[in-house]
Amino acid sequence: MTALLRPGADAIELKGWWRAHQWLLLRRLVQLGILALFLSGPWFGVWIIKGNIASSLTLEVLPLSDPYLLTQSLFAGHWPETTIVIGALIIAAFYFLVGGRVYCGWICLVNPITDLAAWLRQRLNIKDGARLPRQSRYWLLAMTLITAGISGSLLWELVNPVTILYRSLIFGMGMAGIVVVTLFLFDLLLAPRGWCSHLCPMGAFYSLLARYTPLRISAVKRESCNDCMDCYAVCPEPQVIPPALKGAVQGIGPVITGINCTNCARCIDVCSKDVFRFTTRFYKPTKTSSNTFKQSEVLS
């Protein structure tokens, strides 16, 4: 039980605290670093990226725009300028390469909030909560686009916590603190991993970009898995793990191909057996690995 209250304890003991948190720290560094690039202008007058994650201009030349917002705008019936189309194509191409939901794990600032809620749930051993269907997010995604069409406006942006939070940090908080608190309490008390892993239509949109993503995490040493369950405990989308980790019997490869894997690499951190690492999606285990032996062990 203690293992699941403190997932990663074995890894910390074996690899040391820093190595057992290296991807998490890197991720937080990227999240804060990108926010800092946005803030250096308004705070210190050093303009590196102007705008916010909805659409931005880097060093006065490079337009980067959110393809989900552009899609909403298209559904609302607006014919966009080329600038935002170019910006959105660059971003879409980037997430196609590294995994759509890398946006969620590495950029989005709602992620640290809901991660904190998930961490606290484990620490406080809160078991109750609504188990929402993971498919809900795709229905919500459809809803946001249909209502954009009906209203002719970017309706979801009235309430979208992802863009509201990011914009508010750069342009002025207003009452955006309420969004943070609401999301935190929702994830902590009402629905475990409720927002990011079940409801957020923005994440759902980005997951659709990950169908053929080359950069993926693989359970390259799945035969050494000791079933400690730590990776499941920290993973925001644990349904993506079993095919790769336990699929050897059915002849499924070790690459995690689920489109909702955020490539957050927390599984790499917490595994004391170093089962996971970053690979391409074309990774094939070499014949020399002891796969066959372990398969029989799993079967027995």
Partner: protein
Amino acid sequence: MGKADNKVDQLRRRFLRAAGQACGAALLGMGLLTYSRQTQPLPAMAIRPPGALAEADFLGACVRCGLCVRDCPYHTLKLAELGDTVITGTPYFTARDIPCEMCDDIPCVVACPTGALNKSLTNIDDARMGLAALVDQENCLNYLGLRCDVCYRVCPLINKAISLEPQHNPRTGKHTLFIPIVHSNACTGCGKCEHACVLPEAAIKVLPTQLAKGAPGRHYRLGWEEKQKAGGSLVEPDKEHEYNLPKGYRYDYEGQGLIKENDTQTPFSHNPLDTLNKQQEQAK
């Protein structure tokens, strides 16, 4: 239970689950639509940047990125924060605080990546952010007969967007009122007049055009304009009006007043001295 039954049952369950999720999403969507109905109208004191599409189109085009705000050199533009009365994340300005300075290069429009601020606006004088209206005729100093004229003086399109029209001052009986008149064919809605109004609460305000402007009946034609366009009267001239004037006199309504026809014989001389001389002669 047969295999087919099992399959049907599974399908049924999958359908019900999906339907439940769809209903949840639809409910949320309906709530959102209703909520948006209440937040849709822009508050009258919030003005969109130059080149902004009509409000309904604007809300479908603007992605709330704030690039227009960043490139506004006078910090006029703001992004609505959550909880403001303006739709969250959209750009606006309050003329009384900081008006639009009407930059020649219109940097906010150039910065807009989506076209929510229309790129076809290249001359800032063509901008129509709103329309100034002298809403308080009781307190406007010029209406009171004083020469404030501040709104007129600060107007970037002086004499085109705001002109001063002289009118008789009936209070004193001998002075002139200089009434500021806003002309909608030139006013850009920049708000400099509202910003500069010397009263504690501005008597002249920039309002959304549809609030500030009336509309003539679609069938209305202004006779004098039509006459000018046609180069002559378009209706049968009325029967000449007959004035009850002494014989040989006529009255001109366009300024000359009472006119004595030249060939008219009258018992009175044109020179009043003649009458006096005549009287003296008779006395002798």
